[in-house]
């Protein structure tokens, strides 16, 4: 029983990290119709910048803020320079963002070398709590807390503010939003920046979770994030949380019981969803 609870917490925290990556991806795809294969690169850059800034300043919280700021800047640059010329052209988007993903990955090696970097959680987030026979690792609880906090904040913005209303409307019908006098391209840029910052946040939180980071991690997590976007429904923010938790739990339990099957099982999960609900579990297209 204790093992199951531990696997559950492990799965939920992994799911939250994937959610941070997938949530931005799903909004970017839903609103902008942009297939951004470089999104994992922002995640990896967030991880490296977080670890580096933490080693320089000794402040874990500041390192998270720094990683998110880097994500925002990378997002703004990517949208303005890389994505803007290829709006509406999916093939070009795939090619150019895959190229950017490779560049971002290689640039990490240029700055920090080809080897893995080790990463630790700050003292106040290290260790664990014991409740009966169940051991709850503090850092995993912290990830779950941050994931839920981000979900709550973004959900509040989407549901209770005008910009959120515009984003939701834009996901359903971009053309109509423009015909109502709203500059959708500016909204595109904000969403892209926020999505990139969320990916960087996820990356910054991953380091102390796994203990080490490496340049190719962005691509690996991006695959999981794409699976989440497809399962959750393209453009659905709530769907991405639900699907990320599903994938995280799937990963956690299968990695424990049948370690070789974990990625294949997620693919299988996606396949089943695609067969029975091709639009994903939570569709938002109008």
């Amino acid at each position: 029983m204790e093992q199951i609870i531990n696997l559950l917490i492990n799965g939920i925290s992994t799911g939250m990290l994937i959610f941070l990556l997938a949530a931005g991806l799903t909004l970017i795809f839903g609103l902008m119709d942009v297939l951004n294969f470089a999104h994992g690169g922002f995640f990896a850059w967030g991880a490296y910048c977080g670890v580096w800034f933490y080693s320089v300043t000794g402040s874990f919280m500041l390192s998270i803020v720094f990683a998110m700021a880097v994500g925002l800047i990378l997002g703004a640059f990517t949208e303005k320079v890389i994505i803007k010329p290829v709006y509406g052209n999916h093939i070009m988007q795939i090619l150019i963002t895959l190229g950017l993903m490779l560049v971002l990955t290689e640039m990490l090696k240029v700055f920090w070398g080809p080897n893995q970097l080790s990463s630790t959680a700050p003292e106040y987030l290290s260790g664990s709590w014991q409740i009966g026979n169940v051991i709850i690792i503090k850092y995993r609880a912290f990830i779950i807390f941050v994931g839920l906090l981000v979900f709550g904040i973004v959900q509040f913005i989407l549901k209770k503010t005008r910009i959120g209303l515009i984003v939701r409307a834009g996901v359903m019908n971009k053309e109509m939003v423009q015909a109502l006098g709203i500059n959708i391209k500016r909204v595109f840029m904000y969403v892209f920046m926020v999505g990139s910052a969320m990916a960087a946040l996820g990356g910054a939180m991953l380091g102390p979770y796994t203990g080490s980071i490496y340049a190719e991690m962005g691509l690996e997590f991006a695959i999981l994030a794409f699976i989440v976007v497809v399962i959750g429904g393209m453009g659905s923010f709530t769907g991405s949380l639900f699907a990320a938790l599903l994938v995280g739990l799937n990963q956690s339990f299968l990695a424990y019981y049948f370690s070789e099957l974990s990625l294949a099982a997620n693919m299988l999960l996606m396949l089943v969803v695609l067969i029975f609900r091709p639009q994903g579990l939570f569709s938002v297209r109008g």
Binding site: A169, M172, E175, V177, A179, L180, G181, I182, G286
Partner: protein, 236 residues
């Protein structure tokens, strides 16, 4: 002499490789309803989309209140005071009726709230379904929501694309009454295949055939010309 609000001057519009509009020119004067008539695929919808900048013309000029709007992005054209009701109604299906209206409102101040209340007075059904998602409305309710949304700001010109399409006659009557009420305060370009509706609402007409203006005149003139109606609109 009536002031010209919108002037479309020799526009040519392509969609992909297809040349849809050929040298289309027409004028819309303040406070009138101009109806664009023609068979399916004649280019009426593309004409409205060209004005809105959704299918920008490759050449020609479009002026609104003496300002050239050709080449402007759609949102700037809309902000100059042009409301658009697309053929597919453009309802945000997962937003409530209230959210559909509020996303269109340029400001949320007292004056705009007052305008919203007034517009809802013209479309009382919308108030009944205020918290219902747009996707759950009937075809007629969706059409009313789409028209009300375009009218919630004080737009000087409304472009309305086939408001009677797919609606039951009794609903068409309701939509028509609403448009007649709106006609008192705004200028309208109406694309319509329902000739009964067009002739009751319209002041002047342009017939578009194969992407070209084939004929124009007053609605009264068209009403009396059976040959013209038969030739271009397929009605005896």
């Amino acid at each position: 002499m009536m002031k010209t609000l919108l002037k479309v001057d020799s526009i040519e519009t392509y969609i992909g490789h297809y040349h849809i509009l050929h040298d289309i020119s027409f004028e819309v004067h303040q406070s009138e309803v101009v109806v664009l008539l023609g068979r399916n695929g004649a280019g009426k919808t593309t004409t409205l989309r060209s004005i809105m900048g959704l299918n920008p013309p490759s050449s020609g000029a479009i002026t609104f209140k003496d300002q050239n709007i050709h080449g402007l992005p759609t949102y700037k054209i809309a902000n100059l005071g042009i409301g658009y009701v697309p053929e597919d109604q453009g309802i945000f299906n997962y937003l409530t009726v209230e959210e559909n209206m509020r996303v269109a409102m340029k400001k949320q101040d007292a004056a705009h709230e007052e305008r919203l209340e007034w517009v809802l007075g013209l479309f009382p059904d919308l108030k009944k379904f205020w918290k219902k998602e747009g996707g759950h409305l009937s075809g007629g309710q969706k059409q009313m929501l789409s028209i009300a949304r375009a009218y919630v700001n004080e737009n000087e010109l409304l472009l309305i694309d086939e408001p009677s399409k797919g609606l039951a006659p009794i609903i068409v009557e309701k939509v028509m009454e609403s448009i007649l009420e709106m006609k008192k305060t705004t200028t309208i370009v109406l694309v319509e295949q329902n000739f009964m509706m067009a002739s009751r609402i319209g002041d002047r007409f342009y017939i578009i055939d194969d992407g070209k203006i084939a004929f124009s005149g007053s609605m009264k003139q068209l009403n009396e010309d059976d040959q013209l109606k038969k030739k271009y609109l397929g009605i005896a």
